[in-house]
Symmetry: D2
Subunit: 141 residues, 4 copies
């Protein structure tokens, strides 16, 4: 499964179509899109933290939704507007302070549905902070 | 299953413990907590909208996580710090413009786990915009 | 949302198309199909029990998958062959001995996807033994 | 994360404690248990097939539940009786005829909860037939 857009192309598309993703600053970066996967880095700011410095659940869910969307766009191209139909997330451990890395993998890319599996770790750490699967509906092209 | 805190008590607890829930303004209100259920109203602002005026997926997930937390706190009381362990959400329809209502129901309140089912509708509408279940781990008391 | 088939019609369709659903005997009955819902009764036999008389997890998942299929067929009619794409289940309590009742509700019936919410209780009991949501893909007609 | 039981030890424990897992014959084999993972092979028989020779959804869910249980037992040992609290499965592709391989990975092994991620493929194939996550509650020891 080969990507049809680079990370730069996907981000510059999103900058135009979803400028509000940057409303908290450029906290989400696309590190890479390669065969069937995408990797993003998320640098939490005050908005995303709970007392004690833990990244909030909604910030993790937003990261999953974003990164899953990126891996799909990267493999189906800019014409398609996928919408999330299901997202299931397990919160596994309190993240260490510092940036988080989301690695998402397309486990199905059909004509109508795409399914993505994502793991989130602290940057430089192996243990999963959260794990999620998400399904997107792909409109007829 | 009778609540042990009112909506006002839960909100004033959250105001102290999680002041950042109001970082976008007072967009989330607790309308009621009664036997096994809680009802919240969410009034989206610019931050929560997608082009076309649709409320974003992350805003809906944040609403579910918040409302599920409210129904649990309302029934176990202020001493307990439940943490989300799993959240599963189905996005069903584009919401109409206007406030959203989340109705959450405790379907299990055990010693260690609480499970909540939530439906989200447009205020004054019957059709579900999203439906979710969420599990919280309740620390030993 | 009005059904287009009765419970008898759905069961006699399934008898023809999926005769193997009865391989353990007629353990699943359709009690009713009405606007947007279906109710089934499941009477476990030895195959479905764990030591201690508890109904097994797989038997509960089979019941959900079956009952969700029934409510969909009952509302889209015999021509369509829906396939399960996602099933999420929370196991809440050990069921009491005796028959189980599954009540499934269509929370979305779109052209391409149907989403169903199901609760399982012991017959004559209120507490949920399990709660599930399931998504089915509906092929183009 | 090192296992504390071999595949043979887990299977012989299950033979004693859950003899009914073999009610359809020895269709489930444990191929290996190693650091954090377990691999099982499932050879469907007539009971598990749909018209056209496809393995049924319930048979896939049973396989996931079984294999997830095996990886947990293999890492916590025989004294503990974990129970499934949540299972989420995405059905991705029709399996090819022939045995299926389930590969399950412990993504969290806490004191109270274990979370497992499982992929199912046809034996000798790479494409996922189904993907699941499951949570087990581990009773106090």
């Amino acid at each position: 499964m080969q990507p049809v857009m680079t990370g730069e192309e996907v981000m510059s598309l999103l900058d135009k179509v979803f400028p509000q993703i940057h409303q908290d600053g450029r906290v989400h970066e696309i590190l890479s899109i390669s065969s069937g996967t995408a990797v993003m880095r998320f640098t939490a700011n005050e908005r995303h933290l709970r007392p004690g410095g833990t990244v909030s659940g909604p910030a993790l869910m937003t990261l999953v939704d974003f990164a899953a969307y990126v891996v799909i766009l990267g493999h189906i191209g800019p014409q398609a507007l996928a919408v999330t139909t299901n997202l299931n997330i397990n919160f596994l451990r309190k993240p260490e302070p510092g940036p988080l890395i989301a690695t998402c993998r397309l486990i199905k890319l059909g004509k109508r549905l795409a399914v993505v599996e994502c793991g989130i770790t602290g940057e430089g750490h192996d243990d999963l902070v959260a794990h999620a699967t998400a399904t997107y509906s792909i409109p007829p092209r």
